[in-house]
Symmetry: C2
Subunit: 498 residues, 2 copies
Amino acid sequence: MADALTQLKERLAKVTDVERVSRVLNWDQQTMMPPAGWRHRGEHLATLRRITHELLIDKETGRLLDELRALEDSLDPDSDDAALIRVARRDYEKAVRVPTELRAEMTRAAAEARTIWVKARAESDFELFRPALERNYELRRQYVDCFDDVDEPYDILLDDFEPETSTAEVTETFAELKPELIRLIAELRNEEVDDSFLRGTFAPEAQERLAKEVVTLFGFRPDTWRLDPTEHPFASGAGVDDIRITTHYDPATMKSFFSTMHEYGHGLYSHQLPRHLESLPTGGPCSLGIHESQSRLWENLVGRGRPFWQFFYPRAQETYPDQLRKVELDDFIAGINRVRPSLIRIKADEVTYGMHVILRFELEQDLVNGRVVVSDLPHVWNEKMHEYLSVDVPNDAEGVLQDTHWASGHIGYFSTYLLGTVMSVQIWEKVLDDVPDLEEQIERGEFGALRDWLGEHVHRLGRKFSPQETLRRATGATIDPKPYLAYLRAKYGAGVAA
Amino acid sequence: MADALTQLKERLAKVTDVERVSRVLNWDQQTMMPPAGWRHRGEHLATLRRITHELLIDKETGRLLDELRALEDSLDPDSDDAALIRVARRDYEKAVRVPTELRAEMTRAAAEARTIWVKARAESDFELFRPALERNYELRRQYVDCFDDVDEPYDILLDDFEPETSTAEVTETFAELKPELIRLIAELRNEEVDDSFLRGTFAPEAQERLAKEVVTLFGFRPDTWRLDPTEHPFASGAGVDDIRITTHYDPATMKSFFSTMHEYGHGLYSHQLPRHLESLPTGGPCSLGIHESQSRLWENLVGRGRPFWQFFYPRAQETYPDQLRKVELDDFIAGINRVRPSLIRIKADEVTYGMHVILRFELEQDLVNGRVVVSDLPHVWNEKMHEYLSVDVPNDAEGVLQDTHWASGHIGYFSTYLLGTVMSVQIWEKVLDDVPDLEEQIERGEFGALRDWLGEHVHRLGRKFSPQETLRRATGATIDPKPYLAYLRAKYGAGVAA
């Protein structure tokens, strides 16, 4: 038995290492690679994908998993080894249905589409991007066709980002959120809040200084982390000791500060994943929803809250004296929390954000199920933006072309942003229960207890359990939109007289 | 037949892609990776090596090569396909003798040793580095032991860097050089040449500006190239459209300028490799000797010559007015060509450089053959430096710890530097034959004809032929130290009255 387990671990360690290498290549592509390098990069990423897929679907993997069934049944299901066999079986059973060449082509086409998208977005030219996007959707339909007896094709895609989570479950969660968010937006959208100080001239060097200061305060250490500027912020890295986050310094706004805190949350999750499992699939992140619960927690629950700014506002004032010297703390906090429908998801406030996600979640299903064709996408996008947020989209760069996800082949990903946001509040409330003086600590600029709590209750579980089981172990409950809605009502209470 | 060839190409394309990916990881490790990331990086590189080695030594590779023997015999030996089968057979026959775990461990140990070496060098602490170096040498001895009937163990190592080149052949070439170099050094070492203007304060920003200017002039294009600062200059990249060179800006000297030109030569070679073969082993560089012939050509034949400075000196004066305003062009050229024995190989002049290489070539053989043990290395190094260059080594950082090669597992590499230097002069003379107005072009800052000649006669051959066959096709002759010695005598004529 031990032999089969050791063999399985060796095989999966190879897969895990190559996946980590792909992450470094993706980071490099978005930060360092000379532009023309994309021509190699797509092939290289496809080759790595071909290798991991072949290792995973190899008959030997199946044989080892069969041999290990008795061991799995005899082990404590919470044990590392039981979890490993369980996760590996799940990965194997899904992968084995998919031809290697399709997997490789999905990767190659996405790397190419991402390059085309950068240009199309810069030129606000959807037609330029359309064939690449059609190709990505066509390949996802081929991917879905690899599975039998699929009631809801979108389930297959969603499961790649949020495992063991069905479209119906997400729809149910969103159905509870949608009317409440629409009502809140209607109530708050015309409230008078001055946030004009957030626009102006913010030197990128000053933004970078402040970004480094805040992540250092949170717990970024230069021997294990990097922070780089990119067009589109993201978090990546090669392992717990190699964490790479990026941010975008737009000189017209200081909002990079919030996206930096967001990416810090992702980075901390990766940094505190279980070290003893790091060469195995169970040592990776649980799901994108859980990942996002961490980034949203640092961005919103910490970063848009009073305790944090009580401590940090003087530093922001020193950094941007012209803009902030005369702005009182209360007005600053009101300004950074102002609710106002807008065009761009990543710049949206906490209330309108959910509608950006719901729009994408609905559109993805329509596209996958053929209810909408790619060529109609800009039109349908703009209509839905008008319906949900009453905003008019002036051009595709600020509309359907704004996100990299579909270009990068991440179709089925968006809903995890809102799932994570909902879970972030559930987790936050549990931290507050367990660390009663958390807010006082934050007022003193102390984040160690928060980091440790998240590490112990969320991060160290890695990918041993499903997202909902992970959330249940951390908080005692599975996903529930009520705490999030209550949080929004409490925060925006004045505007929600009702 | 076509089927077997297609299959072989697919297999080798995978190997080639993964090797390219390893190059990006190596570049990243030396430029971008957070320091603690080395803990992952060694494993990741070892895993990639394990994968390429297994693909290469697989029985199926052998079967395909057997099947293709008849095709190979029927093809024009100069054809791409014949060259591919020939090169693949050579790689296969060498690799198949080596266990995968040894290959992976050689990679892992080298990545670890490189990290330890950085610290040991910074602290000038050979003892800290010794165990890692002993491990690297021990693993190379195990590697050599994989081969039968080896007369000269060092042949096996040398062949990994300079294929189809024996220790005896290199020794013969060096035997012709060594007495002449020693005589030249003795004649020139006390010559009065003022190069004091090369030392002083040179702002790294100004150095970077000038470095970018010169490589742009030579033919660096930002859509396909990068230039970054590192502690130790090197050239790397992921393919013809992703070229990455690095340099080191020491504020006490302007010598980064020469190392930048050197790395440009490497980069141009990689940039002009045969595009239609880029996913195959024949599309890679021929050998490190040929590689070095390209870097030395740009650094020395172009970059220390009068025609180049006739054009470029005003730019250097504008960049460093305090240091160069009052220095005449003739004095500047004399200064950058001053011959003076010194401690550091990469800072050595054209005459003493060869002795640094010969010293290492001899020491490597002594270590591999057990005539010297690693713990005696600093002592033996210092003695030989005294014997060959009459310099006293004040500390190991400026002695045996100065180069990264042994740490990185590149044992058998050094001689290629001098082989390349010798070949660079042979190639240069052939360019002068074919492009009679080359020097006039350079005086006008025009480098297109030189780039094209090198591309057509050297670069586009890739790895189709052995280094000596490549040189023969480019110049009509195999390696010959006489042109190099004649070049040195002509250049330093005044000092070599004899």
